[in-house]
Symmetry: C2
Subunit: 385 residues, 2 copies
């Protein structure tokens, strides 16, 4: 990114063409490609692919399409759609929103690989608009209660200066966007299709308004049709963009539940709005609260509380005041610090990282688990959130 200014018009255009090519060649999420691009850059990746020298896992992600992609045509279609392409090398790439996706990919969560590029409708600076964002999501088949609450939350969060991120679907999503728009605030819609396609069709006016007061964003090139799986894949961008994800209404199995799980996996707070126990639309929200995956929230104020002092470090963090770990034995603290940096690590790897004898690490880990500082999974040890 620092090289962008030095790159010159020609170099910038090349990177843009390369990113467009790669984004169109691979169906997201493309963890192998994303990893390769992160290491070698977009232009070099394209070169390697075109020369037939790509590693097998990268090739597997692009081989179905790359011979059919014309990056030049894509950029023309982008312009024709009144959209623009934003790439990680751009100054307004919302890096802070998506670097946790790259981090998660690196520690073995391939399903949340970072996007290769984003198509944007709307003039808002993406970095600025996603700097203080909260995701508000929920069921399409929402109740009147759910839509009312979603609009209230969208309104209240926008008034408080937060960008309301959602998926532009009927029901909860649409109400959240509308609430934010009504407050004169900013809102961003992530689509599961190209930004040139108004989906759902009934929301074309809403999408136009969102583009005017924020942005309509997609990692899918113009012309990409919505597909069922793309909604789930798209959800990770919503989860990653929000400092917290508020689930207003969700049935027992729902896309909103999927967004919430991703937010949780990324270490972002999941907040769930309760509703009548007689409503099937609130079953998912209540389940999240019961299982401890979500914190119950009943108002905008409680959402703001969860993302605390406008996202600034909390008072305790600033003053270095009391932390939960303060009472831990120094060795346990060291191990805890290693856990913080390494999700899904073995005792071996942790011992190496913190420099404590393996035997001691093996003894300390169950203690940290017991006291709620560490969690064990199939992938190994991680810090407890």
């Amino acid at each position: 990114m620092g090289n962008w200014a030095k790159m010159g018009e020609k170099g910038r255009r090349e990177v843009r063409l390369a990113r467009a090519f790669l984004a169109a060649a691979a169906e997201p999420p493309a963890p192998a490609l994303a990893g390769f691009v992160a290491r070698h850059g977009a232009c070099r990746t394209v070169e390697v692919i075109l020369r037939g020298k790509a590693p097998p896992d990268v090739l597997a992600e692009v081989e179905a399409r790359y011979e059919h992609v014309s990056a030049e045509q894509l950029l023309e279609a982008t312009e024709a759609a009144g959209a623009r392409l934003v790439v990680p090398e751009d100054p307004d790439w919302p890096g802070s929103a998506f670097e946790n996706l790259a981090g998660a990919r690196e520690v073995g969560l391939p399903e949340v690989a970072e996007p290769i590029a984003l198509w944007v409708r709307g003039r808002a600076d993406l970095t600025a608009v996603l700097d203080r964002a909260i995701a508000v999501v929920g069921a399409r088949a929402a109740s009147g209660y759910g839509e009312h609450v979603s609009a209230e939350f969208g309104h209240g969060l926008a008034k408080a200066g937060f960008t309301v991120v959602s998926g532009a679907a009927y029901g909860i999503d649409g109400a959240a966007h509308r609430g934010a728009l009504a407050a004169g605030g900013r809102t961003v819609a992530f689509l599961a299709c190209g930004v040139d396609i108004d989906y759902p069709a009934g929301h074309s006016r809403l999408l136009r308004a969102v583009a005017e007061q924020g942005a309509v964003v997609s990692e899918y090139p113009p012309g990409t049709e919505p597909r069922k799986h793309r909604f789930l894949v798209r959800n990770r961008l919503i989860a990653a963009s929000g400092r917290a994800t508020v689930v207003v209404e969700a049935g027992a199995r729902s896309g909103a539940g999927n967004t919430a799980n991703t937010a949780d996996a990324l270490g972002r707070p999941v907040l769930a709005v309760p509703g009548p126990v007689t409503s099937k639309n609130s079953v998912g929200c209540h389940g999240m609260v019961r299982s401890g995956r979500a914190v119950l929230v009943t108002s905008t104020e409680e959402v703001l509380e969860a993302v605390s002092p406008i996202g600034a470090p909390s008072a305790a963090e600033v003053s270095g005041a009391h932390r939960r770990t303060d009472g831990l034995h120094p060795h346990a603290q060291r191990l805890h610090d290693s856990l913080r940096g390494m999700a899904g690590a073995s005792a071996d790897e942790l011992a190496r990282d913190c420099g404590l004898p393996l035997g001691e690490v093996r003894a300390l880990l169950p203690e940290l688990e017991l006291s709620g500082f560490a969690v064990r999974s199939d992938r190994g040890w991680s810090i407890a959130r």
Copy 2:
């Protein structure tokens, strides 16, 4: 209690007269009197009081009334009201329901002192009927939603073989009783007045039905009028009787919240039913869940889960399988065991109890607090529930 059979008709009548006298002489809760009776027996306590030899704290609790009480007349009034007096020396005294009140009094929670005696309308054996009970409580000014859910819970819990305990008030209480009655199950109403007074008057038919299928119970002698503070005092009997307390609807400040706090203080699970965030009737329930005082429940099944295997010790308890404390250092375990037996203890007292050096106890306590095994309050250290 073991002496009851040997006591003979005359002895039994004397104990009954003594208990009736004491219950009428002191306004509940009467912690000094309850403690004195627990140590010296009811007859001896009456003797001491009448001779003017009662300790000052006991005297303070009875002096306003004892000269005006006629135990004989009380027993006559009891019979006239179609009620009976049940005392701790009786075989059907629901000891297991109330011994935690005595325990709490002993460790310095005087506001939950055990009752001196109980007046009962209804033929049910109190021990049997309170053996498997769950409290269902909530706002008087309930919503239609709240009454519906309360009746559903009352019905479902009664069907599952649990006695539904509540306070016979309008709104949530009444609906819970009615649900249990409709299921042909058992239900118990604790009153804040004498059992000869139908309060609220509009519930006189309901109270008659409760007495027929369960019991109407009060620690207040016949003729005692309901008073505001008596509702709060009565709430501790509801909280103590239930293996769990379900709060169906509660405003920001409510009697149900008071019952929930008492249940919590007694170490009984508090379960709260969510509702629309737009309803002021659910504010209290949501607040309890947010603060961690209550677990969110949406169905009878989830309530039963919380009081799991029909109140039998859990599988883990039976098999001696993994416990949370298994990973603690042996000294920490010893201290933890002491905490279990001593609510509100000082480090000094704990050191004496577990036999560890005071310095070590002082070092271990914050560690146990940090890992969620101990809690510190104004009264001292207690085990974390």
